[in-house]
Amino acid sequence: MTVKLLYFAWVREATGVGEEEVTLPPEVTTVGELMAWLKSRGAGYESAFARAPVIRAAIDRAHARPETPIAGAREIAFFPPVTGG
């Protein structure tokens, strides 16, 4: 499965990447599994996803949870808790 990944705020700064296309191995089926898999992709990803418990995710622009399945997703985003308003 190929998907677009987006990173925002300090997650983006840590990974050093704003946006990328990745092909996921078949055993990665949920948001939480995806975060664990991303952590292994290099030092930047490891430091970002070391804080996985506070990182929030969105699938196709709707909030998602660690247990949310990613099947069929076209765009998955990772970011800190929001601080707008």
Partner: protein, 153 residues
Amino acid sequence: MIRVQAEDFDIGKEVEALLGGRTDIGAVVTFTGRVRDHAGGERIAEMVLEHYPGMTEAELARVEEEARARWPLQASLVIHRFGRLRPGENIVLVVTAAEHRGDAFAAAEFLMDYLKTSAPFWKKETTGEGAARWVEARESDDAARARWEGERK
């Protein structure tokens, strides 16, 4: 109505554009959030608001729809800015209009509480000493949102 923009807004002009000429409205509430010159005892020189284009608009529209399902609003507007902002500048505007003031006040508070905890914006502050840091989410915002959950219609 929803707008996400870098430009400033004028409260009076926005209310006029939204409601001008209407004679059925009894109560109009506006909320404006502004950049403060201090945070946690430190001076703030400027702030950059990052957001998630596309999802921002979708979340704000969803929150507005939820407010309109809960209260009999005659009109509503949410404008949220992004980009570089200095102390004293406007960040966000919420306008609600209803026949009676209780509905307009409640809906405006609800919109703020929900957008604070669900719209994908992130603030990075630069202090007077030049240090930049991401603003941490506040537990008080989660609590403010939680008080609406029990009374969901």
